[in-house]
């Protein structure tokens, strides 16, 4: 069993429990167990773009250094820290890249971490779980473990921004990514192409400028529906919340009850690989996916 050092990030413990639980369960099935770093802090997304403020880079560096120590206690583990949340992935990758290439940034940060003996040695790589599935495990192995192919599920893959931007953080080609599509296909689902597959959902504007998110979600869901999708698969907890919660509030305002349920990719994997349904925590979703799954006789 290969073990990977896993950094959850704050959201996976609160709003996105289903994401984490299903991910850990399927990772065990695929012999690539995700083991959580014992103590960690919030990565402080979205990473800072100001080049004159190093304070905001300390938190991600601490995570990398703690993961480096954690890896030594694991079985057969590469020097990689694996994330599920796209925003954590982007932040950690960009900061890692930044300080690896610039000694003048690394020194002051390490000075701050010295007190707790947590200096970062620039020896870690950051990977998103989708990259592990694609590169280390391979889709064939996943298909072998599928006991319930997701027939009838016409899924639109929504990438959001952080999986593909910026260049240092992307996990696939930014104009024509295929990683979510390949994964969904290996689970037996039907893929629907929507032209708004990476149209930003509105991200953090949900806090104080909800109307912006409203417009974005309307456009994204409309495009997916027009192309024939009956579900959307995402990899980021914030995108999931935005698409999910906004559709619910749109339902209340309009007569359109045809909302699309939002799935995390690990939840789809969990359903296809025969994991018990309750690890997906569907009760936390605003649009209940169980209705669609029951209709397609997948549960």
């Amino acid at each position: 069993m290969v073990q990977y050092s896993y950094f959850p990030g704050c959201n996976l413990k609160t709003n996105a429990k289903g994401f984490e639980k299903s991910a850990i369960a399927v990772s065990k099935q695929l012999d690539a167990e995700l083991v959580e770093i014992p103590t960690w802090n919030c990565c402080g997304t979205v990473h800072t773009l100001a080049s004159d403020n190093l304070m905001k880079r300390i938190a991600p560096t601490r995570i990398l250094s703690r993961s480096s120590k954690h890896v030594e206690t694991l079985e057969d583990s590469p020097k990689e820290v694996v994330t599920l949340c796209s925003m954590c992935n982007s932040t950690l990758k960009v900061v890692n890249n930044d300080i690896k290439n610039d000694e003048s940034k690394l020194e002051p940060i390490n000075f701050q971490l010295e007190f707790d003996e947590e200096e970062y040695q620039c020896d870690m790589e950051v990977k998103h779980f989708l990259e592990i599935l694609r590169d280390d495990i391979g889709y064939e192995k996943i298909t072998e473990k599928v006991s319930k192919p997701l027939n009838g599920l016409n899924v639109s893959c929504y990438y959001g921004c952080m999986l593909l931007h910026p260049d240092e953080a992307k996990i696939d080609d930014e104009e024509m990514p295929a990683v979510l599509e390949d994964l969904s296909e290996s689970l037996g689902a039907e893929i629907i192409f929507s032209p708004l597959f990476k149209y930003c959902c509105g991200s953090y504007h949900i806090v104080d400028q909800e109307d912006i998110v409203n417009t974005q979600v309307q456009k994204i869901i409309q495009a997916a529906k027009k192309s024939g999708a009956n579900a959307v698969v995402v990899a980021c907890p914030l995108c999931a919340y935005n698409l999910d919660a906004q559709q619910k509030s749109m339902e209340k305002q309009s007569l359109d009850k045809e909302s699309l349920p939002i799935f995390y990719f690990t939840q789809l994997m969990a359903i296809a690989m025969g994991e018990p349904i309750n690890i997906n925590h569907f009760e936390e979703h605003h649009i209940n996916p169980e209705k669609l799954l029951k209709k397609l006789k997948l549960i």
Binding site: D173, E174, E175, M176, F193, P195, A223, K226
Partner: protein, 655 residues
């Protein structure tokens, strides 16, 4: 020995920061100096006359001129002294303008440095010897590599001046990219109509030998005497016998993509690119044909009346000699498969500029009707995107390809002529219309043909059902523009062709950072290369339109004839020479030479075979790299020998 020293004031250019009177006085005390003068403008006629009369009066045998850079007037003064019977190589130029006056504002320091340089030059001058310019013979034939419009024009010009020319073309027909165009801007002349007469003339010209399906594979030698190996690929059809009757076409069972029509239409394994092709003969593609090794199908051979088909043709290599070479290997359009935000070439209705030329051409896959590639319908809205993959240092071509604004305007104009009620929208960043009548053409497209111009670069195009979603912006009003188009044409730029890259490495030509062949001087020598005898023309050197290409081709032809018209060529005398007794054949000089002018040869000396360096004086440019590299001091550069330079250094050092 009598040395004449002349110091130039160059108006105030030199005189304001160097005390010229003082150095002239001090020079009089240097050994062997017979006369030392100052003059306001040495390069002027009276200045030159002054030197000439002094040579006669004082019987001078060495001249030192302290003035501007030798780049400017070394040739002038050499001619002056040669006129009076002196060898041109006993002239020494001291640069007290670019090296002293222009980089220094302190008059005392300037004067001190000038004096030091002048004294060093006088001491060196004492050691300078007269040198002979060698001569080489010239072969009076020219080689033109590349059969596009540039190569065709160059070949015609050289041939019409009376010299035999060989034109080598890689594909089965000459004509190049221009034969694929429909109409040319700004006159909207039919491209094929203006090109074919030239192609036919190439075919029938008694001085031109056309070698199609041929490639240059090796070039040796030097200016006036190039030895070239040309590989002739088999056509499998005997050119002289083929009558273009076309009886082979219906019986051939193989269907392939037609490259001439950018893959939009089918062709057989035996085909002719287009009816006006020269040489006027069919050709068989060995990758598609089923009759060439192994012999499975012989239907065309059976159908051929004139018995022109020969499946047993083999490639052959011929060797020929030429006096001058013109490289006109052309361009390749930037592939749309590289542009991610415009679909990586996977969206059917997103096509490149050259694809569009074939669609709109009357001899193309749609016979001139504008139809979408995906379903053959007439597109009601067509979007033309300028600068697709150009002016983009982050991922694509950093430079501007000059012709895309014009050809996109032409495309939009043609679309509106054919589809009267259609909408043509051009998204641009800048409209570049620098040629003759180009601005008027652009004005016509907007005013008369109602082409819509929106200033803003399109950020992405996506498939949306059977239309294409185009996301652009109008920077002039600050609004984003989103629209659905039926077809999108990407105006892609110009990159060096495969042939250009091959020839550049074969001939050791310098290329710039984008892969285009470098001219000897970007302003003043646009058709010469660093290698004497090799000239360049057309888009192999950079993006340009057809008028510029033809001009450049004629220029290259005229330069080539400048060599061919002479029976002998003089080589610069300041070449490297090897002292056999000191050379140990280590080869460091050969490695150091940027012009591949040095060879290590095995010679028989006193009964032993030893390796000695041999300098090809015609290729040697006198750069001195070999002299610097030689550990034994066995190779020296004439005119700049080690002893001369050491004399200069010891004076500068204060001895």
């Amino acid at each position: 020995m009598k040395i004449g020293v002349y110091v130039c004031e160059c108006g105030s250019n030199i005189a304001s920061t160097v005390d010229v009177e003082k150095i002239v006085e001090e020079a009089k005390d240097l050994p062997n100096v017979a006369v030392s003068r100052v003059y306001k403008y040495m390069c002027s006629d009276p200045g030159q006359e002054l030197i000439k009369s002094d040579i006669e009066e004082f019987e001078l045998d060495k001249i030192v001129v302290a003035a501007c850079s030798p780049n400017m007037h070394e040739a002038t003064f050499r001619a002056v002294i040669e006129d009076k019977g002196l060898n041109p190589y006993v002239l020494e130029i001291v640069n007290i303008r670019e090296h002293v006056s222009w980089v220094n504002s302190d008059k005392d320091k300037g004067t001190e440095k000038s004096m030091s340089l002048l004294a060093g030059a006088v001491y060196r001058s004492a050691l300078m010897k007269p040198l002979e310019r060698k001569k080489v013979g010239v072969i009076h034939t020219a080689l033109v590599i590349g059969g596009g419009i540039a190569g065709i024009q160059a070949a015609l010009d050289i041939a019409s001046m009376g010299y035999k020319t060989t034109l080598v073309e890689k594909t089965s027909s000459i004509g190049g990219k221009m034969s694929q165009l429909d109409k040319t801007f700004p006159t909207l002349d039919c491209s094929q109509c203006i090109l074919s007469p030239k192609m036919v003339e190439v075919n029938r010209h008694p001085n031109i030998k056309l070698l199609s399906l041929s490639e240059v594979v090796a070039v040796d030698g030097y200016v006036g005497n190039f030895k070239v190996k040309i590989k002739r690929n088999p056509r499998y059809v005997i050119e002289d016998k083929c009558t273009l009757c076309g009886d082979c076409l219906p019986v051939c069972p193989v269907i392939a993509h037609d490259e001439y029509n950018q893959g939009f239409s089918p062709r057989k394994a035996i085909y002719i690119s287009y009816p006006q092709a020269i040489p006027a003969s069919f050709v068989i593609d060995p990758d598609d044909c089923l009759g060439i090794d192994p012999l499975i199908c012989t239907k065309c051979k059976e159908a051929c009346g004139p018995e022109a088909i020969d499946f047993d043709m083999q490639p052959e290599i011929i060797e020929e000699e030429f006096g001058a070479i013109v490289v006109a290997t052309g361009y390749a359009p930037y592939p749309i498969e590289n542009i991610g935000e415009y679909g990586y070439g996977t969206i059917h209705n997103v096509i490149s500029g050259l694809d569009y030329e074939r669609i709109v051409s009357a001899s193309g896959p749609t016979e001139g009707k504008i139809l979408r590639p995906s379903d053959g319908k007439i597109p009601e809205t067509v979007v033309f995107i300028h600068c697709a993959g150009s002016r983009d240092p982050s991922k694509h071509l950093p430079y501007c390809s000059k012709i895309c604004c014009m050809y996109s305007t032409k495309h939009a104009l043609q679309y509106k002529h054919i589809v009267h009620n259609g909408t043509a929208i051009n998204f641009y960043i800048d409209i570049r219309t620098a040629g003759k009548d180009y601005e008027e053409f652009y004005q016509r497209a907007a005013e008369e043909d109602k082409v819509i111009y929106i200033r803003g670069k399109v950020s992405e195009v996506l498939e949306d059902g059977d239309q294409i979603l185009v996301k652009g912006v109008d920077t002039l009003s600050g609004e984003t523009v989103e629209l659905h188009a039926d077809m999108v044409v990407l105006a892609t730029g110009i990159t060096p062709s495969e042939g250009t890259k091959e020839m550049a490495s074969l001939l050791n030509l310098a290329v710039d950072i984008n892969g285009f062949i470098k001219e000897a001087h970007p302003k003043l020598k646009p058709v010469d290369t660093a290698i004497a005898g090799i000239f360049i023309a057309g888009t192999a050197t950079g993006p340009k339109d057809i008028p510029d290409t033809v001009s450049q081709a004629s220029g290259a032809a005229s330069k080539a004839c400048g060599i061919l018209s002479q029976d002998e060529l003089e080589i610069e005398a300041t070449v490297a020479i090897v002292d056999d007794s000191l050379c140990r054949g280590c080869g460091m000089c050969a490695e150091a030479c940027p012009y591949s002018a040095i060879e290590i040869q095995v010679m028989d000396q006193y009964g032993h075979s030893t390796k000695i360096a041999y300098v090809n004086e015609a290729l040697c440019k006198g750069c001195g790299s070999c002299a610097a590299a030689c550990l034994n001091g066995a190779i020296n550069q004439l005119g700049y020998t080690d002893s001369q330079i050491l004399a200069l250094i010891s004076v500068l050092g204060g001895d």
